[in-house]
Every structure is written in structure tokens, then in C-alpha cells.
């Protein structure tokens, strides 16, 4: 068996002005083949108007073991949300 072709992650932008969204992955020898395969595999039913393919090994992911130090700090900062502030009802349009 020869060398396995590299893995690519596929991102698709749908029709309603949304951002590209991760839809899955596939194997392909190079970027052009990855793009063709992504079209065939992930847009058979009008799912998208734009495709990004990215080599999987180029993605830097946060580690689950750092979940606490990464994301907990933002939990204590409720003043970043508008509902933190009590504004009297008589004050309008704010």
C-alpha cells in the first residue's frame, strides 16, 4: 500500500450570508483535488456557494486539558453583557 494521501478540513459558506462553517474532512493528494472532492462530497444538494479546504495538520486546536484556564476567566466578567446594568424603565431607547 502506498503513502496515504493527506487529510483536509472542509468549510462551506451557505446561501444566507453566513460565515464559512466546518462540515467535515476528506483525503486528497493536493489542494486542487481536495477542492474537487469537497465539491462532490459536501455540496451535492446546494449546500454552499463557497468552499475552503485547509490541510488538517495546519489547524492549531486548543487542548481540552486547558479548558479551565482558557475559558473560565470570561465567566466571571458578567459586566461584559448588557443585562448586567439595571436601567430604570422610564429611560427609553437604551
Amino acid at each position: 500500500m502506498s503513502i496515504e494521501s493527506p487529510l483536509w478540513e472542509v468549510f462551506i459558506r451557505g446561501q444566507h450570508g453566513t460565515a464559512h462553517r466546518h462540515v467535515g474532512s476528506l483525503h486528497a493528494s493536493d489542494a486542487e483535488t481536495a477542492m474537487n472532492n469537497a465539491r462532490d462530497v459536501y455540496t451535492r444538494r446546494n449546500e454552499g456557494l463557497s468552499i475552503w479546504v485547509v490541510p488538517s495538520n495546519q489547524i492549531i486546536a486548543s487542548s481540552p486539558s486547558q479548558k479551565g484556564s482558557m475559558f473560565d476567566p470570561s465567566q466571571g466578567k458578567i459586566y461584559r453583557h448588557p443585562s448586567f446594568y439595571d436601567i430604570p424603565k422610564v429611560v427609553k431607547k437604551i
Binding site: 500500500m1 502506498s2 503513502i3 496515504e4 494521501s5 487529510l7 462540515v23 467535515g24 474532512s25 476528506l26 483525503h27 493528494s29 493536493d30 483535488t33 462532490d40 462530497v41 451535492r44 444538494r45 486546536a61 487542548s63 481540552p64
Partner: protein, 330 residues
């Protein structure tokens, strides 16, 4: 379903107080309905069972292309040919989504392919039956995809994130498969006497193999108990089989076809259909390699893989040449 006999750890699931802290935290996440993601800690048994199940599921999608591929060249109209091509292409896609999900657990695609081609890995028993007449394309869509959907819908809630997400995509596409099958069955059943006879013949042959798709009764199985505790498996096999019969019997009646089971009747007390079990001896023969088409199916997969080798190698050679040229330019 497509993974009929997935072995798990082989022992009863541990109770929470017998687990070590890591295992316990993991089980509690599952009990809370949280999804497990690829880089999260997981027990080795969970990883292994999942790889086995997703592998069987993916292989079934891939081998499942063969009985239908058999009819692409002989579909009766251009429209039916286009529909069948689209369906078979979907099956290839489904196999790919599932292989990708399994790869997130560290199992390589080539390893999985090797396991299928060598006959070590299992795939659903249903695809080892031949498709002999055009109505079989109807019966396969109606019954086989119908049975598959029964299992795949609850699997959208399975605990492993990539598997659940693959299932969501698959379920979206699968209902077209079942409906196009029923559409063929309608055409045949409401057509000429000969067409109706073909539809009946097809139902006769595919009924029991479809019931086998859910696998043997597993209410006593330790493998299923563990898989259910991990939410890799959601329902017992008998539960889904009953649901399938309840759903399918009225559809057969609408077609004017007779399900080949003298014991099939509505039970007012249980509000379910009573029905006969398939021949489980036959099932064990088919799943262990002795079905009508096992040898043919594996030979076809091996031939496709071998015939494609020069092309895969060419693509990789071209890619490495291109990247060398790019590096030289830099």
C-alpha cells in the same frame, strides 16, 4: 442496522462507585448528555468500541453500493438511472463521513480499508444478498434504507460528537433513498401483472434479510449494555425491529403486496404487529462469510482498490512534484 454485532469490552458496565475518578467524570458527562470530542479523555474501551462500530457502519455504506451499482447500467429509464446514480453516490459519501469520524479516534483510513479488504472487518449482512430483478431496487430503498433510518435517527444523539454530526448529514440524505425505493415499488405494484409479480418476488426475498439488519435480540447482551451506558447505542435491537414492522406492514398493504409471514397480524392488546423472527442460523452464516454474495462483494472491493492503485500513486507523485517545484521557486 449497518453495525449488527459490535463487540464492546465484554463485561458489564461498571457502576459509578466502582469507576476511577477519570472514568466517573467521563460517565457523568455522558449521563448529562454532553458530547465527547476527539481530544477529550476517554476510556480505551469506549474508543475501541466506537472505532469498531463506525468501521462496520462505514464498510456497510461502501459495500452497499455494489448491489445497486449492479442496476445502474440497466435502469429502465434515464430518470431512474440518474436517481440511482445519485443514491449510490450518496452511499459513497456516507461511507466517507463515517471513515472521517473514525479517523478522529486515531484510526487511519488505509487501516480501515485493509481490514475490509482482508475480510477481517464486518459489514451488514444485507449486502450479501443478490439484487436479481429491477423491483429489488425498490425493495432495497424501501426496506433496507427504511431499516437503516430506524437506527440512524436515534444515533444522531450518540455521545461521540463527530459520529453524531456524521449521522445528522446521513439522515438528511437517507430519506430520499427510502422514498425513491417506495416510488419504484408503487410503479411496479400498480403496473402490469408481471410487474406486480416482480415486486412481490422482491419483497419475498428481502423481508427476512431486512429484519436481520437489526441484529439478533440483545436485551441480555453485555456488549449492548456497555454500549448503551456510553450512549453509543440508543435502542435494543428488538425494539427497533418491532418499530420497523409496525411501520412497514401498512405500507405493504397499500402496495397490495403480501409480507411473506403467516404469523404477521395486528395484536389489539399490545397494539403492535405480531411477526415471525428471521432464521438466525442463516444470519450467522451470512455474517461469518457464507452468504450468497460474500465472496463476490469482497472480490469487487479488492478489484476496485487494486485497479485504482496506479491512479492514487499518480496523484501522490504529481502532488509531491508540484510541491517540490513550488519550494524551488521560493
Amino acid at each position: 442496522m449497518y453495525a449488527q454485532q459490535v463487540e464492546s469490552t465484554g463485561s458489564q458496565p461498571k457502576s459509578l462507585n466502582k469507576m476511577n475518578p477519570k472514568e466517573r467524570a467521563f460517565q457523568e458527562r455522558i449521563d448529562r448528555g454532553e458530547r465527547i470530542e476527539p481530544k477529550d479523555w476517554m476510556p480505551e474501551g469506549y474508543r475501541k468500541t466506537l472505532v469498531r462500530q463506525m468501521g462496520q457502519h462505514a464498510h456497510s455504506e461502501i459495500v452497499g453500493q455494489l448491489p445497486e451499482g449492479n442496476w445502474i447500467g440497466r435502469a429502465p429509464t434515464l430518470e431512474r438511472k440518474a436517481i440511482l446514480l445519485a443514491k449510490v453516490q450518496d452511499e459513497a459519501g456516507h461511507g466517507l463521513y463515517l471513515y472521517s469520524a473514525a479517523e478522529t479516534l486515531g484510526k487511519s483510513r488505509d487501516d480501515m480499508t485493509k481490514e475490509l479488504l482482508s475480510g477481517r472487518a464486518k459489514y451488514s449482512s444485507i449486502f450479501n444478498y443478490p439484487t436479481l430483478n429491477w423491483a429489488d431496487m425498490g425493495a432495497v430503498g424501501w426496506l433496507v434504507d427504511g431499516a437503516a433510518i430506524m437506527n440512524q435517527v436515534p444515533l444522531q444523539r450518540t455521545s461521540y460528537g463527530p459520529y453524531a454530526r456524521a449521522m445528522v448529514r446521513i439522515c438528511k440524505e437517507e430519506s430520499f433513498h427510502q422514498r425513491q425505493g417506495f416510488d419504484i415499488m408503487m410503479k411496479m405494484s400498480f403496473g402490469s401483472k408481471e410487474q406486480k409479480a416482480m415486486a412481490q418476488d422482491s419483497l419475498n426475498r428481502f423481508w427476512y434479510p431486512s429484519l436481520m439488519m437489526f441484529g439478533p435480540s440483545d436485551s441480555e447482551s453485555v456488549h449492548s449494555a456497555q454500549s448503551m451506558a456510553w450512549k453509543i447505542k440508543i435502542n435494543f435491537n428488538d425494539e427497533l425491529r418491532q418499530k420497523f414492522v409496525n411501520q412497514t406492514a401498512p405500507q405493504a398493504k397499500y402496495l397490495g403486496l403480501k409480507i411473506p409471514d403467516e404469523n404477521l397480524k395486528w395484536n389489539k392488546k399490545t397494539e403492535q404487529y405480531d411477526f415471525s423472527e428471521p432464521d438466525w442460523k442463516e444470519f450467522f452464516e451470512v455474517i461469518s462469510g457464507n452468504g450468497p454474495c460474500n465472496i463476490e462483494r469482497l472480490a469487487a472491493r479488492n478489484k476496485a482498490w487494486d485497479d485504482g492503485e496506479w491512479f492514487r500513486e499518480g496523484l501522490m507523485a504529481n502532488a509531491s512534484k508540484q510541491s517540490k517545484a513550488m519550494n524551488a521557486k521560493d
